[in-house]
Point group: C2
């Protein structure tokens, strides 16, 4: 096989890693096995004690317009700020019905009626976000997307509000598997 | 690593396989190594004599509207008809500039100005087509897409016309690597 996709990120739950798993909720569908810590990084050799691993690749935008992309670029920050000691990993799988919809129908649900990008924009720059795609990986992954968020402890309530708003949308009716993993980074 | 994505297809050039490579052209960018035959199938253990291998996964539509999807569904056929003894594999890579464009700008170029779907529709059902995505695989592939076409020998001139029409479009200005591999299946 050729070398690893440089945009591929591996999330490894197990005994090690800088992130401590504070809590985990199976929002719909089966839960993931419990583990004490999470590591986030390139898909090199996994640690021998991994409890689970999920892979996803950052990729191009699928729904945003040029105006939305510009609005995001003006406000968004990359995950990894020093003050962002809180994080969440939210793996999601959408239904076969969603994937069979045409691009214009998915866009209508995603933004015209669910305001996915607009909702996220309202929480920028406090809530940083990075989306990883799993659906078209070489490997069969149990999810379509892994979204990574990080934020300062004072913004945890805002993050809860963002999640609640997204889960109330028409788009979320197509989510058939979702796990919410909340994390904290130990002080250096 | 988890099991292989069931939508993953491997194209293997080498000494074996049902398809004889009739000719190969590097339309832009570097050529692939020459080989006598091509095998198309699931990504199981590759033959030890492979000259090159390319992987791609079938996936959801990225640009088509509901009306276009219905028009395609009404006319298209799956590759593999008995009479379709001619085939072509066309691996393509698009530029970083293309992938940085927003979804609406890519759609405008792809269909509103380049009529990609409309051009393909005009050659259905004679020219069967299956698109494989490589850009988001776990592995670093040299192309973004692998398109497989098959058709009867009498439709080879029509296929040449379709390729010429696509290559004359605005969309093709973003293609920075393209190889055309023409094939024939031996009579049983």
């Amino acid at each position: 096989m050729p070398p690893v996709n440089p945009r591929l990120v591996r999330f490894t739950a197990g005994a090690t890693g800088p992130w401590r798993i504070l809590g985990q909720t199976a929002v719909c569908g089966p839960d993931l096995p419990l583990a004490p810590r999470l590591d986030v990084g390139a898909a090199e050799a996994p640690p021998p004690d991994a409890v689970w691993m999920l892979h996803g690749a950052t990729s191009n935008q699928r729904y945003t317009t040029e105006a939305e992309q510009a609005a995001l670029a003006a406000r968004q920050v990359a995950p990894g700020r020093v003050e962002a000691r809180c994080a969440a990993l939210i793996p999601i799988r959408k239904s076969a019905e969603w994937w069979a919809l045409s691009q214009d129908r998915r866009r209508e649900i995603f933004e015209d009626r669910s305001h996915h990008t607009r909702l996220g924009l309202a929480y920028l720059p406090a809530i940083a976000r990075r989306l990883h795609h799993c659906r078209d990986l070489s490997t069969a992954e149990p999810f379509d997307f892994l979204t990574w968020f990080d934020f300062a402890p004072d913004d945890a309530a805002a993050f809860d509000a963002l999640l609640a708003a997204l889960r109330a949308t028409e788009e979320w009716r197509y989510v058939e598997h979702e796990v919410e993993i909340r994390l904290i980074r130990d002080e250096d």
